[in-house]
């Protein structure tokens, strides 16, 4: 299986990058935008913890390791699941307003997971994944 190639080294590489991103966002943004820095730190650090705990659980149960596509969608999903409600709440509290760029990003993420949902349902209805 080609997937297994990514099992150890790829996940380590991704978590390494995420941990670095967490540290850098905290360090660089602390001065100029403290809340943004802390938010970046929580998101990237949280992603590291989730990925590693999932991988440990997968090892323990002998399940198939996640593929790069799944890791990508998991990361974007976890980030979006925290960032967008945060933005909506900030909008409600009057400390954020939507710009064309942020609306574009939000719609892009929405389309991405709409495709994922449709493909999942399609595979499920067909009975067997291709």
């Amino acid at each position: 299986m080609g997937d297994n190639r990514f099992d150890g080294s790829f996940v380590q590489f991704v978590t390494g990058l995420l941990a670095a991103a967490a540290a850098v966002s905290l360090a660089l943004l602390s001065n100029a935008r403290p809340l943004l820095g802390v938010a970046g730190y929580i998101i990237f650090g949280g992603a590291v913890v989730v990925i590693q705990s999932q991988r440990d659980a997968a090892f323990a149960s002998g399940a198939r390791p996640q593929t790069p596509a799944e890791i990508t969608l998991t990361l974007i999903g976890l980030t979006s699941a925290m960032v967008f409600p945060g933005l909506v709440a900030a909008d409600g509290l009057g400390v954020f307003s939507w710009t064309p760029v942020s609306v574009g990003i939000a719609l892009t993420v929405a389309v991405l997971y709409a495709i994922y949902g449709i493909v999942s349902v399609g595979h499920r209805l067909r009975g067997r994944p291709a």
Binding site: A63, R64, T67, A69, E70, T72, L73, A81, F84, P85, V88, A89, D91, G92, L93, W98, A106, A110, V111, L112, Y113, I115, Y116, G117, V119, S120, H123, R124, P129, A130
Partner: protein, 101 residues
């Protein structure tokens, strides 16, 4: 406690419904200028999705679900990648000829 358990199929449907409802509520209430209501519905939906999974009568997500998730992730990124590879250069061209801002 067995009366509290839910069939795995039902658990999967509840989680899917909660995820869809949460996302839609977030988007719709933002458009309706009621963002805090949207966040409230979203938090309730995601919270109930997380709470219902341990109530499954057996494994909620088995190997078949894993295979579906695997294939769905693969095809999602393939479709999204192909669509992006066509859309974004086209937008750049349209912007270049002044047809898109």
């Amino acid at each position: 406690m067995s009366h509290l358990l839910v069939a795995p199929t039902r658990v999967r449907r509840l989680i899917a419904t909660a995820a869809i409802l949460g996302g839609l509520a977030l988007a719709l209430f933002t458009i309706l200028k009621l963002p805090l209501v949207g966040v409230g519905v979203y938090v309730v939906a995601v919270g109930s999705a997380a709470l219902v999974q341990p109530l499954a009568d057996g494994t909620a997500f088995d190997e078949r679900d894993e295979e579906i998730a695997h294939a769905a992730a693969f095809w999602t990124l393939r479709v999204f990648g192909l669509a992006s590879a066509i859309t974004f250069p086209a937008l750049t061209v349209a912007w270049g000829v002044g047809a898109f801002e």
